[in-house]
């Protein structure tokens, strides 16, 4: 398949992940593989920053690539790290020029001659970087740089959006649980008020004391009252004595 067509197809596939759930590692493995096919490089890899702040290797298009990337992370030296901290692309650096002495020797040993890195960023937030390595010394063309940045951009948006979505899901679950608990507590106030002949305020106090004395969640006590598994009499019973 011609490179332009593959680029378009890859962008479409990445865009699909904007609407569907996806696995981040799978997405970035696809990205790494397609970078190799589309951008005229020999190997590609993706690093993402972990919540703790350190970069992690998430995907590599070959084992040789993975080894070099891991070394890059462990030695705190290399194009991806510079790209991540500056938020800017690192392009066409001469490995023999001495910018990354330890990394360069490992990369050269592995057969790589040219290295580039593109940031994965969105409006100032840099979430990682894409490593692009070549076995010849040729520079990356302007078209290839642009194509790589487009791929990086779509992958970044997909990952960020998925993070927001899963945080939102958690919050929505919490909201629904909180609302449901509220409802059952109010219902229990009514049930207890009726069955024990008390006011709803005093019914609430009785449940609160019961929950606190026995270290239970108020919502669970309320559920017991509503389901009739907890009798009104039990709520007025004296607190269990501790052995002295």
């Amino acid at each position: 398949m011609p490179k332009e067509a593959l680029l378009v197809r890859t962008l479409v596939e990445l865009a699909d992940s904007l609407v569907d759930d996806f696995d981040v590692v799978e997405l970035l493995s696809l990205l790494a593989d397609r970078c190799v096919e589309v951008l005229g490089v020999s190997a590609a890899g993706v690093m993402l920053v972990a919540p703790e702040g350190d970069l992690r290797v998430v995907a590599s298009s070959s084992e040789a690539m993975r080894v070099v990337e891991l070394f890059e992370v462990q030695s705190h030296e290399g194009p991806c790290l510079d790209c991540y901290s500056s938020g800017k692309a690192v392009l066409n650096e001469d490995l023999t020029a001495g910018r990354w002495p330890r990394f360069a020797s490992v990369a050269l040993d592995a057969g790589f001659r040219s290295v580039h890195a593109l940031p994965m960023h969105l409006r100032g937030a840099v979430i990682g970087a894409i490593n692009l390595f070549g076995t010849d010394e040729g520079p990356l063309s302007a078209e290839d740089v642009a194509a790589g940045q487009a791929l990086a951009a779509v992958a970044t948006i997909a990952i960020l959006q998925q993070r927001v979505a899963s945080e939102s899901r958690v919050l929505i679950d919490q909201l629904n649980t909180a609302l449901t608990s509220r409802v059952v507590i109010e219902q229990a106030k009514g049930v207890l008020a009726e069955r024990a002949g008390r006011s709803t305020e005093s019914a609430f106090e009785a449940m609160r004391h019961y929950a606190r004395d026995r270290n239970l969640h108020l919502a669970d006590v309320a559920r017991g009252v509503v389901n009739r598994t907890l009798a009104p009499g039990a709520l007025s019973a004296p607190r269990p004595q501790r052995p002295s």
Partner: protein
């Protein structure tokens, strides 16, 4: 341009931040920005209205109460269908929507009603209700603004909840909200009075409210104040 709309709306919200609890201000801004007579925000979960976060006036509160009581209306539909629901002429005799909701809404003064689902990503959490006291459609700008407002409201609700202790509703959401405590308390009392589960008890309260053409909340208040009792399980809608 969606970005410019969002900025304008957020600026309005910021401007009013000091005047009252956040949910109440949210509803006011919704009504102001869209030039509607009133606005309200309902939370819903699994097709069940969960309560009202805010209403900018009494008519909006009633519009929400009706939807809560009857389980139908522009917000309920917008939530269920996951799209905007627009009724520009509620009092038009040719309009057959919401047979139970419409007469009550019209009587209260609503002539046009619009519902927009509150969405966060693909998940709906409720709906925004807008009403006008004279008929007429939303123009393109109002419609676009309403879509942005619904998104802002959804995020605002989640942001408020994010600060809450686990298992509890955020204090910011409680203030200014009507979570229908009295209705739930009344359901509990009626369930004990009739020896039925709370779902059945709620249905009885609803039936009574409908049969007597009274708001559900008013009936619930009577029950909690012990001025109204239900004692005959076999007579739905009847009370002592």
């Amino acid at each position: 341009m969606a970005g410019a709309r969002l900025l304008r709306i957020l600026a309005r919200l910021e401007a009013g931040a000091a005047t009252g609890p956040a949910p109440a201000r949210l509803c006011e801004v919704c009504a102001e920005v869209t030039a509607m007579t009133g606005a309200g925000i309902m939370l819903m979960s699994g097709d069940v209205p969960g309560g009202s976060i805010c209403s900018s006036n009494e008519v909006s509160a009633l519009i929400e109460d009706l939807q809560y009581t009857l389980g139908e209306g522009p917000c309920v539909e917008a939530y269920q269908l996951d799209r905007a629901v627009l009724e520009p002429d509620l009092a038009d005799p040719g309009v057959n929507r919401w047979v139970a909701f419409t007469p009550g809404a019209v009587k209260a003064g609503a002539r046009a009603v619009f519902g927009f689902p509150l969405r966060v990503g693909a998940i709906r959490i409720g709906a925004l209700n807008l009403y006008r006291d004279h008929p007429g459609p939303l123009d393109d700008d109002q419609h676009a603004d309403a879509l942005v407002l619904a998104g802002v409201a959804a995020r605002a609700v989640l942001a408020m909840q994010a600060d809450a202790p686990p298992g509890l509703l955020a204090a910011g959401l409680e203030a200014g909200s009507d979570l229908r405590s009295v209705v739930h308390q009344a359901s509990g009392m009626v369930s004990a009075q009739l020896g039925v589960n709370v779902g059945e008890a709620f249905a009885r309260l609803r039936a009574h409210a409908f049969a007597h053409d009274r708001p559900l909340t008013a009936v619930a208040k009577e029950v909690v104040a012990r001025r109204l009792r239900f004692s005959d399980p076999s007579a739905p809608g009847l009370a002592d």
